[in-house]
C-alpha cells in the first residue's frame, strides 16, 4: 500500500513538488476559514448597542432657573449630565491654576463656550471607572478642589471639572453642546 501511495503522489506532483491535493486542501480549509469568520462577525456584533440604544435623542436643558453656585443633574444618552452655573469666585479659582501642571491640561475657556464661561456642562461620569461624582446636588461633598468628588475611588475634580487628585485619568468629559438661546442649551 505504502509504495503504491508513494508512486501515486509522485505522479500527481506538479512543479515545485506541489500536488493537486495540497492545493485542494489549502483551498478548502481557507474557504471554510473565511466562512467561519463570516459567521463569527454577526455573533460578535449582536453584542454592540442595538439601533434603539443608538437612536439617541439630543437633550435640551433649560438654564433659566439655575442660580450662580447651583448645579443640576440631568441625563444625556442615559448617563448623568451635570450643568453648573459657576460663581465668579469659582471661575477665578479655575483660571489661576497653572494648566501645565495638570494631568489632563485644559483651561476653563477650552471647556466652555466663548463668552459663556460661567456655564460648565460636563458628563456626570467619573473618568476612572464610571461612577457619578458628588458635588452637583445641594450639600454634597465637592472634594478638596471645590468641584466634584467621586466617592468610589476618591477622585477630586476642580471648579472646571478637571481631574486634580485620585486615580481618574481625564477631566470630566464635556459633551458637544450649543446654546439655542441665552437660557437654553442643546446637548448632542
Amino acid at each position: 500500500m505504502a509504495s503504491v501511495e508513494h508512486t501515486d503522489s509522485q505522479g500527481l506532483s506538479g512543479e515545485g513538488g506541489v500536488r493537486r491535493r495540497d492545493f485542494i486542501n489549502i483551498a478548502a480549509v481557507s474557504f471554510a476559514g473565511v466562512g467561519a469568520v463570516a459567521v463569527v462577525i454577526p455573533l460578535v456584533d449582536q453584542m454592540n448597542p442595538s439601533a434603539d440604544v443608538l437612536a439617541l435623542a439630543s437633550t435640551e436643558v433649560d438654564l433659566s432657573a439655575i442660580q450662580p453656585g447651583q448645579a443640576i443633574k440631568t441625563t444625556f444618552r442615559s448617563q448623568p449630565l451635570f450643568v453648573r452655573h459657576l460663581t465668579d469666585k469659582e471661575i477665578a479659582e479655575a483660571d489661576k491654576v497653572d494648566v501645565s501642571g495638570l494631568r489632563d491640561p485644559q483651561t476653563l475657556e477650552e471647556r466652555t463656550v466663548d463668552g459663556k464661561k460661567q456655564w460648565l456642562v460636563t458628563m456626570g461620569v467619573c473618568t476612572h471607572l464610571g461612577c457619578v461624582p458628588l458635588g452637583a446636588g445641594e450639600g454634597e461633598n465637592k472634594g478638596e478642589f471645590g468641584g466634584y468628588f467621586c466617592p468610589c475611588h476618591g477622585s477630586s475634580y476642580d471648579t472646571a471639572a478637571r481631574i486634580r487628585k485620585g486615580p481618574a485619568p481625564k477631566n470630566l468629559e464635556v459633551p458637544k453642546f450649543a446654546f439655542t438661546s441665552d437660557t437654553a442649551i442643546l446637548v448632542g
Partner: protein, 439 residues
C-alpha cells in the same frame, strides 16, 4: 487510573454488567471516585475542600436553576421579580438566600482549597496542569459571581457592573469600544442585564466541564499528600471508597452545619443593604464595594493613585489587578524547590504565613472606603503580594535548606504513630523506629 495496584471494576449485578459492556460509565465512576482510585493514606482534612467545592457548585446550580424559573431578566421587572421570589414564591426566600450565601461558601472552600495547594506545593510537577485548570475554574467563578450579582438590579448590582466593565475602558484605544460592546450600550441597561443572565446560566456548566478536566489531570499522577513524597507502593495508598468518601462525608456534614447557620440565622450578613435599593443610574452609593471575595483584588485595583512613566493610574490599577491572578499561572515555574510540602520548608513556611496575613490585610482594605490610611496600606500590601511570588519565592527556592524528607508516606505515618505508640504500646507498628523527621 493512576497506579497498577488499583482495584479493577467487576460488576456484581447483571444489569450493571450489561451497562458496563455497552457504555463503561460505571467503570469510569468506580475508577474516579470509587474503590478503583488509590489515594495516599495520610491525607489530612485540608484535602476535603475539593469535594466541598464540588458540593457548593451543585448547590449553586440547583438553587440557581430554580430561581431562574421565577426571574425576569428585564430592567423594568428584575428587581421586582427577585423581591417576589423572596416574598411570594413558596420557599423562594430559601432558594435565594441559599444561592447568595452558597456563592460565599463556594469562595470560602475554594480559597481554602487554593491555600492547601499553596502550602503543600500541590502545583508542582507533575501536577502543574491540575493547578492551571484550577485557576481557570477560579477565573470562571469570578466572572460568574460578578454577573450573578448584577441580576437583582439593585444599586450595588448596577454600580458594580459599571465599575467592573469600566475596567475594560482603561485599555488604551480599544477600551471604550470594548466596554460598550460588553454592555450593549453606554451604561448598564437592559441589553447588559439580559446577556449577564444568559452567561450566568451558562458558565456554571462550563465550570463543571473544567472540573472534569481538573480531576482527570489530577488522576494521572494521583493526589498529592501532606508530606509531598510521591506514592511508592500499595502500602502508601488506600482506596478512595470507602476511606475518603467517609472522611469527605464528615467534612460535608461540618460544611452543611456552618452553611445552615449563616443561611438561617444571618442570611444578609455578607450582603450589602444598598442592593435592596433598586438600581438608580443617577445616584452612586456613597461607598461601592464588591462582594467580600473580591476585596483583595479590589484593594490592588485601588492602590494606584498616581501615574507612572506616562501610564495612567487607572490602567496600572487594572493591569495590577489582573496580574495578581494571572501571575499565579506561572507559580509552578517560580517556585523551583524540589520539595513540595511546606512542612519540610522552614523558610518557605514563614513567608507563606506572611503572605496569608498580607492577603487578609488586602482583603480588609478592599472592603474599606477609598481613603487613608487604607490606600497606603493597600499599596504596601499589594507590593508585598507581588514581591512574594516574583522575588521572595524564587530566592527561597534557591537558598533554603529543607528538612530531611521521610523515605515514604508509610514511613512518615508509622513514625508519627510510633511516637504516640511508645505510650500506647501499639502492636505491630514498626519494630525499629526510624528517627522522626516528619515536622
Amino acid at each position: 487510573m493512576s497506579f497498577p495496584w488499583a482495584e479493577h471494576y467487576t460488576p456484581k449485578h447483571p444489569a450493571m454488567q450489561w451497562i458496563d459492556e455497552k457504555l463503561p460509565l460505571p467503570r469510569l465512576v468506580y475508577n474516579a471516585i470509587g474503590a478503583g482510585y488509590p489515594v495516599p493514606r495520610n491525607l489530612n482534612y485540608f484535602w476535603n475542600f475539593g469535594v466541598l467545592a464540588g458540593l457548593a457548585l451543585v448547590i449553586q446550580i440547583v438553587t440557581g436553576v430554580i430561581m431562574a424559573m421565577h426571574y425576569g431578566a428585564n430592567t423594568l421587572v428584575a428587581f421586582g421579580t427577585v423581591e417576589q421570589t423572596m416574598r411570594d414564591v413558596n420557599a423562594g426566600w430559601l432558594m435565594r438566600y441559599a444561592h447568595a450565601n452558597g456563592a460565599s461558601f463556594f469562595f470560602i472552600v475554594v480559597y481554602l482549597h487554593i491555600f492547601r495547594g499553596l502550602f503543600y506545593g500541590s502545583y508542582k510537577a507533575p501536577r502543574e496542569m491540575v493547578w492551571l485548570l484550577g485557576l481557570v475554574i477560579f477565573l470562571l467563578m469570578m466572572a460568574t459571581a460578578f454577573m450573578g450579582y448584577v441580576l437583582p438590579w439593585g444599586q450595588m448590582s448596577y454600580w458594580g457592573a459599571k465599575v467592573i466593565t469600566g475596567l475594560f475602558g482603561a485599555i488604551p484605544v480599544v477600551g471604550e469600544p470594548i466596554q460598550t460592546w460588553l454592555l450593549g450600550g453606554f451604561a448598564p441597561g437592559n441589553a447588559s442585564l439580559n446577556r449577564f443572565f444568559s452567561l450566568h446560566f451558562l458558565l456554571p456548566f462550563v465550570i463543571a466541564g473544567v472540573i472534569i478536566l481538573h480531576i482527570w489531570a489530577l488522576h494521572i499522577p494521583g493526589s498529592s499528600n501532606p508530606t509531598g513524597v510521591e506514592v511508592k507502593g500499595p502500602q502508601d495508598t488506600v482506596p478512595f471508597h470507602p476511606y475518603y468518601t467517609a472522611k469527605d462525608g464528615f467534612g460535608v456534614g461540618v460544611f452543611l452545619i456552618l452553611f445552615s447557620i449563616l443561611l438561617f440565622f444571618a442570611p444578609n450578613y455578607l450582603g450589602h443593604p444598598d442592593n435592596y435599593i433598586e438600581a438608580n443610574p443617577l445616584s452612586t452609593p456613597a461607598h461601592i464595594v464588591p462582594e467580600w471575595y473580591f476585596w483583595p483584588f479590589y484593594a490592588i485595583l485601588r492602590a494606584f493613585t498616581v501615574d507612572f512613566f506616562f501610564v495612567p493610574a487607572k490602567l496600572l490599577g487594572v493591569l495590577a489587578m489582573f496580574s495578581a491572578i494571572l501571575m499565579l499561572f506561572f507559580l509552578p515555574w517560580l517556585d523551583t524547590s524540589p520539595v513540595r510540602s511546606g512542612n519540610y520548608r522552614p523558610t518557605f513556611r514563614k513567608f507563606f504565613w506572611i503572605l496569608i496575613i498580607d492577603v487578609l490585610i488586602l482583603g480588609y482594605c478592599g472592603g474599606a472606603p477609598a481613603e487613608e490610611p487604607y490606600v497606603m496600606i493597600s499599596q504596601i500590601a499589594g507590593a508585598y503580594y507581588f514581591a512574594h511570588f516574583l522575588i521572595i519565592l524564587p530566592l527561597i527556592s534557591r537558598f533554603e535548606r529543607p528538612l530531611p524528607l521521610p523515605g515514604s508516606i508509610t514511613e512518615s505515618v508509622l513514625n508519627r504513630h510510633n511516637i504516640k505508640g511508645e505510650q500506647d504500646a501499639l502492636p505491630g507498628m514498626g519494630a525499629d523506629p526510624q528517627p522522626s523527621n516528619a515536622g
